[in-house]
């Protein structure tokens, strides 16, 4: 009696079994990759803003401290977006006629606020507080990246919960001395050793209960 299946069927079946498994793994991997890709996360995707404000210029070239504009970052959940008045503190004197700054001058003239597009936006069910992070030694650059090198503002991190938990589970990997929080260039020589010391010095807790952020 002749074989029902040709010998090549063996190969076919092996390919389809292992290939099928591989396909499932590949699909899952692809889904995970897409999920973390800038297509979905907007990481390093610059947003259009009413004024082409360059953090790079203001921080690197001019050496302005973060807190000059983001005034409430040490005291409140919200870091604060500068009022038009803060812009005009300088720009009534320098680049006072620049056409790029016309929206600022217009706002100041008319009293109508500038509407900035939000770059770091969390879902409505997440409650984040800037002040406690800054006070416990989380640097601006740790989450926001090297803002001093961003001509246009974009997200440096996904702001996914897994990303939050990286630090909430092991803060020693990320914390820095309080006096270096606003320093964009700071790097630890031995982060883990310093981190462990800071975690105990600043009494940093590993808060991972749901209600810490979701309420």
């Amino acid at each position: 009696m002749a074989q029902i299946f040709h010998r090549s069927t063996n190969t076919l079946s092996r390919v389809s079994i292992f290939g099928g498994l591989g396909l499932v793994v590949a699909l899952v991997a692809a889904a995970a990759a897409i999920n973390r890709a800038p297509y979905l996360t907007d990481v390093r995707v610059a947003r259009a803003q009413p004024v082409q404000f360059s953090h790079k210029h203001h921080v690197s070239d001019d050496g302005i401290d973060c807190r000059y504009c983001h005034t409430s970052v040490e005291r409140s959940a919200f870091a604060g977006i500068p009022s038009t008045k803060i812009c005009m503190n300088c720009h009534s004197q320098i680049w006072a006629d620049s056409p790029m700054l016309e929206p600022i001058r217009e706002s100041f003239r008319t009293g109508r606020s500038i509407e900035w597009t939000r770059v770091h936006n969390l879902p409505g069910f997440v409650y984040f507080d800037h002040s406690i992070h800054v006070n416990k030694g989380v640097g601006c650059a740790t989450c926001h990246g090297r803002v001093d090198q961003m001509p246009l503002m974009s997200r440096e991190n996904t702001l996914y919960m897994e990303w939050c938990l990286e630090c909430h589970r092991a803060p020693e990997r990320f914390v820095r001395p309080r006096e270096e929080v606003f320093n964009m260039n700071w790097r630890a020589e031995d982060q883990l050793a310093l981190g462990r010391k800071l975690v105990s010095a600043y009494k940093i807790q590993k808060l991972t209960s749901c209600s810490v952020c979701h309420h």
Binding site: T41, W116, D129, N135, S211, H215
Partner: protein, 1017 residues
Amino acid sequence: MSDDPKGEIHSLDLAGLRKRLEGLAGERYWRGLEELAGNDAFEELLRKEFPQQTSAWANGLDRRDFLKLMGASLALAGLGGCGRAAPPDEKIVPYVKQPEGWVPGKPLFYATAFTHNGAATGLLVRSHEGRPVKIEGNPAHPDSLGATDAFAQASILTLYDPDRSQVVSSGGAISTWNAFFTALDGEIEGQRLNGGTGLRILTEHVISPTLADQLRSILARFPRAKWHQYEPAGRDSVRAGARLAFGEYVAPQYRFDAADVIVALDADFLSCGGASLRWAREFAARRRVRGGKGEMSRLYAIESTPTTTGSVADHRLPLRPSEISLFAGALAGRLGPSANEARKSPATGSAQWLEAVARDLQNHRGRSIVIAGDAAPPFVHASAHAINQALGNVGITISYTQPVEAEPVDGIESLRELVKDIEAGQVSVLMIIGGNPVFTAPADIRFDRLLSRVAFSVHLSLYDDETSASCRWHVPEAHYLEAWSDTRASNGTATIVQPLIAPLYGGKSAHELLSAVRGQPGRPGYEIVRDYWQRQSRGDFESFWRKSLHDGVIEGTAFAAKAVKAKPVSSPESQAGNSPATNKNAETRESLEIIFRPDPTIFDGRFANNGWLQELPKPLTKITWDNAVLVSPATAERLGLTPKIGTTGGERGRVFADMVELTYAGRKIRAPAWIAPGHADGAATVYLGYGRARAGRVGTGTGFNMYTLRTADAPWQSAGLVIQKTEAQYAIACTQYHHNMEGRDLVRSAALEEYRKHPDFARDKDHPAETLYPGFQYAGYAWGMAIDTSACIGCNACVIACQAENNIPVVGKTEVTRGREMHWLRIDRYYKGDPNNPETFHQPLPCMHCEQAPCEIVCPVGATTHSDEGLNEMTYNRCVGTRYCSNNCPYKVRRFNFLQYSDFETPSLKLLHNPNVTVRSRGVMEKCTYCVQRINAARIDAEKDDRRVRDGEIRTACQAACPAEAIVFGDINDRSSNVAKLKADSLNYGLLTELNTRPRTTYLATVRNPNPDLKKT
């Protein structure tokens, strides 16, 4: 709206119940008469815990269609997942010039005051980025002391109510403020020529000093004009009583913390009246006993209708209103220098009472209070004043001051005068400032018809209501959180009312309107109020003004005590019109006494469009969205009433009440009847405020309008009511039968004597606490709550405070009948003993935050978990709505969003939401969080200062609102904290601890102080 009772119905057999009870000692706790009757059919009903599953789907979808739809929704849901996950672009809109000292993201608190029922409650209102969001009490204010009542809490919903009047209208057509001011100017000009002969102003009782000043200056300018004041739930009796006793109107000021014996004569002083919050605080301070020691005050409540005050009394005597007058007279005859010693003996059965109360008062001379209620006849007030004076209480527990009303008048008399003038055709310009007299005026004064005789009538009010419809002009009023004003606390302390937000709907305040009458239209309220106080203050005005605004009280404005002497009072019969039982109607054997009271939740009808208050269960009946005629069980039996619990749509939420026809003073109305244990026999209570025709989307058409029975000569009580049962039935949404705990040991109480002998009577019996799993370790904080049931007065302030703080939606009457109300905190009410006069207990029930929570282990998606600090957390974004947790919760504190209850659409209601709490959507479970947003905020503040959270730093919304300080929250790991001390007390016990849930919320058992001489009748 009579529902056709379908499905399973259980009827209550009252005669059978009485027979059964005759054989019982009567010391059981019970929640509903059906439970007490212990009928088999009812037991069966209880066993079917969730009967609504059988009929919730009324549209008859079959299984095949259901599967098709589910398949399609799954596929579509999958498609939806293919889109970009990133949320849509959001804008950040900073200031152009940011105010100095303002920190974005940090709430600000402003001091202001809420005026209600004749006095102000001082408030601190929390504002987020310019939106007032939550109301707290002002600790510096004498009538608040940091607490608030349910009305003050809910008033913020009225501010944002989208149904509030938004336009000026003239004869029903939309108009403008300019057109109105032009028209008004013409009329006023005409009045100037004749000295204001045709000008009348009708206000509610004015206590605002600035408003009174404006009115006086208008009267000076128009000498022939008149100012009338009327309020349906006003304190006319209090005023008349004081006049009767002292010959002038003085306001009594009580100090309940100094009183050992309190006798309340139809007085619900713990929840009605200007200073009720302070009185509740002072009263509760004398009700706490700890460690088997301590003294308590004793409260006797003699009342016709069950009230919260009666529910916490040590002795409660239900008497008809006419009998209360007799009782008061007899008590005065026994204790005071009464003119009429030989008095009719009081109602039978109360002789022993009279004896015991009189003796107790005699034994506590100078340390007692006899207080008469706002609705008690003037004679009862006068008797109380006479007794207090005879007992030497004046100057110790009671003092007298000038009244807070700028011009105290009798409201009904004032309204009658106005009516007479209108009928005589003397009124050409009528300005109605606030109030809703067309709806609230006594039925024998047809105010709406009279209004058509006035050529130029104006109604200033928050809503375009019944009165607005009958007036020539309606102009929208600014809410008190939108306008500058001032007001006074019950002891005279003045507060500047400052606005939190610019008028949302272009309203103007009474000050601004009256300013136009004085020829200054468009003068801002700020200037008017400031100008008045500038004239009052000496020294540096600017610093006085700033300090007054900041503190929320104006220093040195409390009234000084006045020396007055009470005259002996003559008997009620000789006081024409004062006796409750002098209605012209022939009294027949069948007739009952009728008792009118403002509704416990929507008051005189002014809060009818407030969903929070509509859905708030009434403190004792637990009825929502309706009013009913309350009668005692014995009277109900005589009338042949048989309430039925319907199971057609819900978890015991729908009760079918018999419709009855009330005939009184020649008028008839049909309304449902409700059996109220502890009500006086031979009387019926009707609540005013319901049956509004033009309240708004929420309030129109709810309940029955009892103003249609009320007459001017007997505003509060009278004889001559006939009740006739009809065949019709009416579905009432009642939360009484929800969450039935089936006779478990949930409420524990003892008399003071017994407590002294057995301080640990309430201690939990030993239950095996073994577990296979290692327990949680709480290294940092361990949050816990203790609720003192001796202090709780069941006032509902905590329920509304919780609703406001946590963005809890309103579900509506139909959903309540299905047992789907969303309150995270409910107050369970238990009865004990004789249904004709039971002892009553209140038990506020938030989430227990069990250390071994049954809900946590059944959640398949980890949406409810245990935190490091012992909180039982609910994570909305994880919840998929299986409701396993709710099924497994022994305390039934979890609430499920069956439908889209939260309002995400209405722009004004979006402003109301607390930004620190997620607004929940459909299909999500929710429950009490111990106000975790407040815990987190306090923890962050503490961490920034490198310290631990201090005891008392976190106050949950319910705790902050509580006038009796019955709720205490804190860290139980800190042995010195207030809550840890309470939990160590012998009175502390947990609910259902036999399940080994180890609840973090525990209770302090109730201790009451009955008079050993007075055996319970």
